[in-house]
Symmetry: C2
Subunit: 541 residues, 2 copies
C-alpha cells in the first residue's frame, strides 16, 4: 500500500484536485452510476464470512500514522468493507426496512456533500432553511390538511415550527414526547416550567406521583429510550399486551383511568401507524377519543406507515392521524430517501416553542434558524433529498409504490396460506407480514392439542425458525428477519416468526416463491423437522 | 416543466435505470467532480437576495400531485436552491465551522448512499459494524491512549462500547450526560435505577434536592438542551462567568462546594475543549482534579477541538482530556468529514451499559448491534467517511492541517493587532479568534474613560459591529459571524465582536487581508463611525 507524501501540497491536493477519472475511486463511482445492481453483485461477497473474520480487518486501534493514497485506500475499501457489507438493494433482502433507492439519490448525495450546508442556522444554509420548512409543511399538509391560509401564516414564521427535521424516527419520537412533557408541565404562577426547573420540581409543583406514556407492546423500542432519557422512567411506559397487534381503545381507556386513579398522570398515548414488527396500525381515531377523554397528548408514530397517506386507496387505514398532537414520519423508510431523514410534525405550530432555545452567536431571538427548536444541533441538507423525492415521485408516484407494496404483501400472504407447510401468523395491513414454517400435520395437531403439547410444539418450532432464519441468512441468497410475538392464534405466549418487509420495488413474485422454497428446503433438512414429522414431541407431550 | 408519466414502468426506471450521461443531473455531477469551486462560483449567486424573496420559491405547502422528470427537477434545483445556498467552500467564508471538504468525500458519499447500510444492527450493516467500532476505538485511543490489550479486549466486545457514533456534538453531549445521569442514579437495594424508575423517584431515593451540571458561560448551548431534555432543568446548569473565556478551577471548586452544601448534588463538570465562540480550552487537568474532589462525572466537550490531539505541537493544550469520563468529538468539524459524524467516547467501556436496551427483532441480548447503546436508532454509514479520512490523512496529515490552521489564526491576530482601527478581543488558542473594528482614537479613549463613557462607546461599537457584519454578509464576497461576550478588556459587560474560524485550508493570508480591508471600508462609511471619529459620544458622556 503506497504511503502518500506528507506535505501541505499533498493535503491541499485532496481539497483542490479532483479524482483522476481513471482512479480507483472514480471507477467505483462510474460503476455505481452505470449499474448499481451489477456493482453490488460484483463486489458484495455472498459466501458466509464470520463476523469474527471480518473483525480481523478492523482490529487495529491506532490511528494510522501516515497518509495513504486515495486510490490504494479505495482498493482496500472494496476488499474489506464493500465485500462484507449487506446488499440491501437485493430483491431477496426482505428482512428489514432498508431497500433499494432510486438512482437520482446518488448524484444528489454528491450535491449535498458538495454544498455542505448546515441547517442549524440560516447563515450556513440560506435557501435550505425555507426548503426544509416547505418540506415540513408539505408533510404537515399531508397529515393535517389545513387550509392554505394556515400554511401561509406558519410555513415561514420565525416564531413557529410545523415540525422538526431530524436524523430518524427515534429522535423524532423523543422530540415529540419532549415537547409533550414540557407543554404538560409548563410554567405557571410560582413555577418556571419543567424545562427550567426540572422534572422533580415539576412533579412536586403539579402534585404528580408518576407520569406515564401508553402504547401497545408493539410500540417501537425508541419509546422506551425516550421515557428513559426524558427522566420519566421505563417503568412508566405502559405497554399493553396486544395479541391482535393493535392497542385496543377500551383497554387503553381502562388502563389509563386506573393509572390516573392511582394518583398518576398520563402524559401521552402513542398510537402506532405501522408497527415495525408486523405493520399493523392502531385504531387511531378511537385512540384520539381516548386521549381526549383522559386529557393527554396523542402522538402517532408513523415512522414506517406515514407514507401510506399518499395512497387514496389505503390512507383511510390511518384515519385519526390528523387528530394527533404530533406525528413521526421517516422519509428514509417508505419514501425511499437515504438514511437520516426523520420528521416530527406538530399539529399546533406554537407547541415547539416549549423547547425553544437561543445562543449568542446563532439562533438569536427572532431568527428563522431551524436549530432553535430541534434536539439536534448541526444538521446536513437531507431535506433536499425529501424535497426532490416529493417532486420526482409526486403524490401519484408514491401512491403507486405504496399500493404495489401492499399488493405484493397480500400475494405473498396468499402463497403462504396456500402452502401446506407454512403458517401465516400476521396478515399484512401494510407491506409487512409474519409467518413460520411448520409441517402441515403439526399445524393440524396444534388446533386440537392440549396446552402443554402446544407449548412443547411451539418451543420446537421456535428453535426451528431461529435455525432456518440463520441458515438462510448465512447461505447469502436471501434474508428475512425474525421476531417473537403473541398473535390471535397464540395469544398467551410469544412464538418466533419470520418477518418480512416488502418495500423493495425490485422484488418480484418469483423472488418470493424462491424464498419460500429455500426456507422449506432448509427446514426439512433439520433434525427438528424430522422429529416433528415423526411425532416425537406430540408423543412425549 | 415536463410532467413525467405516472406509471409503474416510469417508477421502476428511477430505481433501475441510471441517469443518462447527458442528463442535467449527470452534468451537475460531472461539474462537481471536475471542479467544485468552479461549480459553486458559477451557480451560487453572490448578489443579495432577501430571505423573503427566497421563501417565495418554497411557499407551496401541497405535495406535488404528479411526478416530475429528473432532469427538469435538477434544473429547478439549480435555480431555486443551489443559486441561493451558501458557498461554504469559499476561502472568505470564515464565520462558521463549516468549510471546504476534500474531494474524495464526493465519490464516497455516493458509495455510502449506494450501499445504504443501517448501522443500528449487524443484519443491515455487517462489516460497517466492526468498522464503526474500530473508528470509535481509534478515537478512544487518540484520547485515552490505553495499551493494546485494552483495545483487544473491548474493541469488538458485545457487552461493551468505547463510544457512541451519532449525528453530531449535541446528541453526543446529551448521550454523555444521559450515561452520567443513569450511572450516578443507578440501581441499589430497593431502587431499580433512574432508567427504570424515573428522575423524581431517583431524587427521592437518593435524597437529592437538585442535580446540577457545571460549565463556563462559554459552554455550548447543547448543554442547556441536554439538561432540559434529561429532566434536570436549565436552572441547574451552573454556567459560571468567565471573562478569561475559560472555567477557572478555583471558581468551579468553590461553586461546586457551595452547591453541594445547599443539599444539591453535582452530576458533572463539563470542560470545553475549544469553545464554539472563541476556541478557548478549559484547564482540563485542573478541572479533572476538581471533579474528582467533588466526586462528580467529568465530561469534555471537544466537538471542535478534539482533532487538536492529532498535533504533537498543540495536543498539550488538551492535557487532562484523558482523565475525562466522556468526551465529545465531531468528525465533521476539524476532521473535514461531511456533516453528521459526532462521537461520544467513554473512558470506561462498561459505562454505556447503563443506557443499554433490547428489542425482540433486533438488538437481542449478546448481539453486537451498535444500536443497543445509542440514543439514535437507524443510522447511516457515516463512520466510513471518518474511517477513510483517518486513513487518507493519517495522523501526520491531520497534524499539518491543524498546525497550519492555528498558524493562520495567529497571523490574522497579528494583522488585527497591527491595524490601528481594529481591536483583538480574544487571541487564538486554536483557529478561532474574535475582534472588532474600532477607530484608533476610540481605542485610546476606552483605556482612560470612565465607566459611563466606556459603556456608551461600547454600545455604539456594538451597533457598528452588527451593522458591518450584516453589510459584509449581504455584499456576498465574504462572511464572518458575530457574537457577544465578556473579555479581559471588558470583563463586566458583554461586547459584540466579529468571530472567525480559520479552518478552511483554502483561505490565504491575502484573503484575510482583504476581509479586514472590506470591513474597514464598510465601517468607515457608516454614520456611527463618523460620530465616533467626531467624538460625539465622548462629548455627550
Amino acid at each position: 500500500m503506497g504511503e502518500a507524501q506528507v506535505s501541505l501540497r499533498h493535503l491541499y491536493r485532496v481539497f483542490t484536485k479532483p479524482e483522476h477519472q481513471d482512479s480507483k475511486l472514480a471507477q467505483i463511482e462510474q460503476h455505481l452510476s452505470d449499474n448499481i445492481l451489477d456493482f453490488l453483485s460484483q463486489h458484495v461477497v455472498t459466501k458466509k464470512t464470520s463476523l469474527e473474520e471480518i473483525e480481523q480487518d478492523f482490529s487495529d486501534s491506532k490511528v494510522p500514522e501516515s497518509p495513504e493514497f486515495v486510490s490504494s485506500h479505495a482498493e482496500s475499501l472494496l476488499d474489506k468493507l464493500v465485500a462484507h457489507s449487506v446488499n440491501t438493494y437485493s430483491p431477496t433482502f426482505i428482512g428489514h426496512m432498508t431497500s433499494a433507492l432510486p438512482y437520482f439519490h446518488l448524484p444528489l448525495s454528491k450535491l449535498m456533500v458538495g454544498l455542505n450546508q448546515n441547517l442549524v442556522k440560516i447563515e450556513t444554509s440560506k435557501a435550505f432553511t425555507p426548503l426544509e420548512r416547505q418540506v415540513l409543511g408539505m408533510m404537515h399538509n399531508l397529515v393535517y390538511d389545513n387550509d392554505e391560509s394556515f400554511y401561509q401564516r406558519y410555513l415561514h414564521s420565525a416564531r413557529h415550527a410545523l415540525g422538526a427535521f431530524c436524523s430518524g424516527g427515534t429522535i423524532a419520537n423523543i422530540t415529540a414526547l419532549w415537547v409533550a412533557r414540557n407543554k404538560a408541565l409548563g410554567a405557571q404562577k410560582g413555577f418556571a416550567g419543567v424545562a427550567k426547573e426540572g422534572l422533580a420540581s415539576a412533579y412536586r409543583h403539579y402534585g404528580i406521583n408518576n407520569l406515564g406514556v401508553m402504547c401497545s407492546k408493539r410500540g417501537h423500542y425508541s419509546l422506551s429510550k425516550a421515557v428513559d432519557a426524558l427522566g420519566i422512567g421505563r417503568q412508566q411506559l405502559l405497554a399493553l399486551p396486544c395479541p391482535t397487534q393493535t392497542l385496543q381503545p377500551e383497554d387503553a381507556l381502562k388502563a389509563g383511568k386506573a393509572y390516573q386513579e392511582e394518583g398518576n398522570r398520563l402524559l401521552a398515548i402513542v398510537g402506532v401507524g405501522g408497527t415495525t414488527e408486523t405493520g399493523h396500525i392502531d385504531p387511531l381515531d378511537e385512540l384520539a377519543d381516548v386521549a381526549s377523554e383522559l386529557g393527554c397528548w396523542f402522538h402517532v408514530d408513523a415512522a414506517w406507515g406515514g407514507a401510506t397517506l399518499f395512497s387514496k386507496k389505503h390512507r383511510h387505514k390511518l384515519k385519526g392521524i390528523e387528530r394527533a398532537d404530533s406525528v413521526t414520519i421517516d422519509a428514509h423508510k417508505q419514501m425511499y430517501v437515504p438514511m437520516g431523514a426523520g420528521m416530527a410534525l406538530f399539529k399546533d405550530p406554537e407547541n415547539a416553542n416549549v423547547v425553544r432555545h437561543h445562543a449568542q452567536y446563532i439562533l438569536r431571538e427572532g431568527s428563522k434558524d431551524l436549530g432553535a427548536t430541534t434536539l439536534e444541533g448541526s444538521r446536513n441538507g437531507m431535506a433536499m433529498m425529501v424535497y426532490s423525492s416529493l417532486h420526482i415521485f409526486g403524490r401519484r408516484g408514491y401512491e403507486l409504490l405504496i399500493d404495489q407494496s401492499i399488493e405484493k404483501a397480500k400475494t405473498f400472504a396468499d402463497m403462504i396460506n396456500r402452502h401446506p407447510d407454512f403458517e401465516l401468523i400476521t396478515a399484512p395491513t401494510l407491506s409487512l407480514l409474519t409467518y413460520r414454517v411448520c409441517p402441515a400435520a403439526i399445524q393440524a395437531r396444534l388446533q386440537v392439542a392440549a396446552e402443554q403439547e402446544v407449548n412443547t410444539l411451539n418451543q420446537t418450532l421456535d428453535r426451528l425458525i431461529v435455525n432456518v432464519q440463520k441458515l438462510q441468512r448465512e447461505a447469502g441468497k436471501s434474508f428475512v428477519s425474525r421476531t417473537r410475538l403473541e398473535s390471535p392464534g397464540y395469544p398467551d405466549r410469544s412464538v418466533t416468526v419470520f418477518r418480512v418487509v416488502l418495500a423493495n420495488p425490485l422484488t418480484t413474485h418469483h423472488d418470493l416463491a424462491a424464498i419460500l422454497a429455500e426456507q422449506h428446503m432448509i427446514a426439512s433438512g433439520t433434525e427438528d423437522w424430522r422429529d416433528l414429522e415423526d411425532g416425537k414431541y406430540s408423543l412425549t407431550a
